[in-house]
């Protein structure tokens, strides 16, 4: 067993790094690992990892991985169907897929078993209003937000209020940029459109592989959600292997994002690279731990809080952020 992963405390990371160690797992370790995987949205990834050696695992493990597999297949089918409908609504506005949907259509190596919460699409800002109206006509609804939330999205964010399809319940985020308008980092998003291309069998634009990596990295930093951090860092690690490091960093430099991209790449390598370290070695890695009680400590909570605050400071400058957070807190208090 590798000295850096303690399979008694961290059975999930142990399985992700060294799948063969599954053979020595006790029932207690399996229960813990599967529980952690569910919280981290990595059940599907485990299922695809053991697809060819499933029969060597305990029967109930096989059962649970097969259930996860059914869900992943269902989701990939639904996304495929939704994309067909979305092209009807958005086809004339040169739509580009981002994140999970882009990985699925491009067939990148991180897609096997990957679960996603919504579909992300990017279109040039000048088409935004028409695209929104077209989505309404095609059954995608984003009404019902409070006036403040409307303003939050439309004035400061890089996306419209999320759309929900009336029949299928699928959620769509329509972006005009990768970064909020109020974000401290900015770059010309047209550069991304210039390098994007089509994949066989899909009418949607797909970003260049280097841009997929950069988006994956800065999305993690600006979202402030570390609970699914292992999934996102695994994405970045597997995507970055498809490109040359110096080209990737040169592209990040061009966008003025050299430092943040290098930082997230380092985290991805620490977890999934050749010389892995313990997933609790630093504050930044602690913020990425799954939301499972086995990882709970005051340090994890602190790390997650710090990560959340940093992300919000990136999204909005302090004079904008403070009133926003107070408003959110008041709304939550009023609701409770």
């Amino acid at each position: 067993m590798s000295a850096v992963t303690d399979k008694y405390h961290d059975p999930l990371m142990c399985l992700l790094r060294t799948p063969d160690l599954a053979q020595g797992f006790t029932p207690e370790q399996w229960n813990l690992a599967l529980g952690q995987a569910e919280q981290a949205q990595l059940m599907g990834v485990l299922a695809s990892q053991y697809q060819s050696s499933l029969s060597r695992l305990p029967e109930i493990v096989q059962q649970r991985l097969a259930w996860a597999n059914s869900l992943v297949e269902h989701q990939q089918r639904s996304v495929k169907m939704a994309l067909l409908q979305l092209f009807d609504a958005l086809g004339m506005y040169s739509p580009m897929l981002l994140k999970g949907a882009a990985y699925q259509v491009a067939g990148t190596p991180n897609v096997a078993g990957r679960m996603m919460a919504d579909i992300d699409i990017l279109i040039p800002k000048q088409h935004l209003q028409k695209a929104e109206q077209s989505l309404w006509l095609h059954g995608w609804d984003n009404r019902g937000k409070t006036p403040y939330d409307e303003k939050y999205y439309r004035a400061w964010m890089h996306e419209l209020p999320p759309f929900v399809h009336q029949k299928t319940g699928i959620v769509l985020d329509l972006h005009h940029h990768w970064l909020p308008s109020s974000c401290r980092w900015q770059f010309d998003i047209n550069e991304v459109f210039k390098k994007a291309s089509f994949c066989a069998g899909s009418p949607f634009l797909i970003p260049d592989i280097k841009d997929l990596c950069i988006h994956s990295a800065i999305h993690l930093l600006t979202s402030g959600e570390g609970d699914k951090g292992w999934r996102d860092l695994r994405d970045l690690y597997l995507l970055s292997e498809l490109t040359q490091r110096e080209h990737l960093l040169a592209r990040a430099e061009q966008f003025g994002l050299f430092k943040p991209v290098t930082k997230v790449l380092l985290l991805a390598e620490q977890l999934f690279g050749q010389e892995p370290v313990s997933p609790t070695v630093s504050w930044s890695l602690k913020a990425m731990l799954p939301a499972h009680s086995s990882y709970q400590s005051w340090q994890t909570s602190g790390a997650k809080m710090r990560f959340y605050c940093q992300a919000h400071l990136l999204r909005m400058p302090l004079p904008l952020l403070l009133p926003h957070l107070m408003r959110k807190a008041a709304a939550r208090y009023a609701k409770a």
């Binding site: 029932p27 305990p58 109930i60 059914s70």
Partner: protein, 304 residues
């Protein structure tokens, strides 16, 4: 494996410590519970079920935990967790058994995708299954419990688990959850016939009113995991004062209604549709409005 009824002390200790590893094929369920209410229920109502004395890999990891704070001492509340996720509001501690039953239903409905799962009661006679899909409140459980006292065997009062390749329905017999007046109807019947059916305590003031769980006598249970071909599908509606009106419905309509009552029809996609198409092609479907159980029972024996 050990029988629950024979080891009440172990059951009680396991529930409070590493968990009781309950065998309910095709599932192994890890249950922990900080209250004794569940241990007593298990040894009485799940008396003939078995558990593993050693830890196992579990299909579901369930925990019923006391809510913290002052209420812990004044008016103890208990909450259901499946892998640390709490899908329901908390309930009074004494309601732990129904929280367990409803929680397990939630787990099966949300997670089990090896079969097509349909919200239905299922009983069998002469090796042929009768599936009774229905929304809550239509008298499905009462009908199911009464049928079991009249020569039918219980497969499940909650789930039709249909195998995608054989289209047969699998038995997963568990206690039947009876509500309000149904409890009195059944209690009266069980006393009159001196059957060995057992009732749990009654739970008052739940979101479904008064609830009791009824454990069907073992001779009325289908063998766990045994499969039966589906011969009839019945959509019942209880109408007080009415005798019994049976209307045949078309295979297409039956398919749509089964799909509507399914938990994972969309998840399984095309395979589920093909399976249901086979089911409706080889079975008869009826919609039944009834107010008199004996009339329905007599009709059932004559229907193809």
């Amino acid at each position: 494996m050990l029988k629950l009824a024979a080891y009440p002390e172990q059951v009680r200790a396991a529930l409070k410590q590493q968990g009781l590893f309950l065998s309910l094929p095709p599932f192994v369920i890890q249950v922990r519970c900080s209250s004794n209410a569940l241990a007593d229920y298990f040894t009485r109502i799940y008396a003939n079920h078995e558990f593993f004395p050693q830890p196992q890999v579990a299909s579901f990891n369930i925990e019923l935990k006391h809510e913290r704070g002052l209420r812990r001492w004044l008016k103890p509340q208990i909450r259901f967790y499946q892998n640390e996720h709490a899908p329901f509001y908390s309930m009074p501690e004494s309601h732990a058994p129904i929280l367990w039953e409803w929680g397990l239903n939630y787990c099966i409905a949300a997670k089990y995708h090896a079969c097509l799962t349909i919200h239905a009661a299922v009983v069998a006679k002469n090796g042929e299954a009768l599936v009774i899909p229905a929304p809550p409140g239509s008298g499905k459980s009462t009908l199911c419990a009464l049928l079991c006292s009249h020569g039918w065997q219980l497969l499940s009062d909650e789930f039709a688990l249909i195998d995608l390749s054989s289209q047969q329905v699998q038995a997963l017999p568990r206690p039947i959850s009876l509500k309000n007046q149904s409890i009195d109807v059944l209690r009266e019947y069980v006393e009159k016939t001196q059957s060995h059916g057992r009732f749990s305590a009654e739970f008052l003031g739940t979101s479904k009113g008064r609830v009791a769980l009824y454990s069907v006598p073992s001779e009325q249970l289908a063998q766990n995991q045994q499969s039966y071909p589906i011969k009839r599908v019945l959509f019942p509606r209880y109408c007080q004062g009415l005798h019994c009106e049976v209307t045949p419905i078309s295979p297409a309509q039956c398919l749509m209604q089964l799909a509507d009552n399914s938990f994972n029809f969309a998840v399984l996609g095309q395979a589920a549709f093909i399976c249901l198409a086979e089911v409706v092609a080889s079975s008869h479907a009826y919609s039944v409005d009834y107010g008199n159980f004996n009339a329905l029972l007599a009709q059932l024996d004559t229907l193809p």
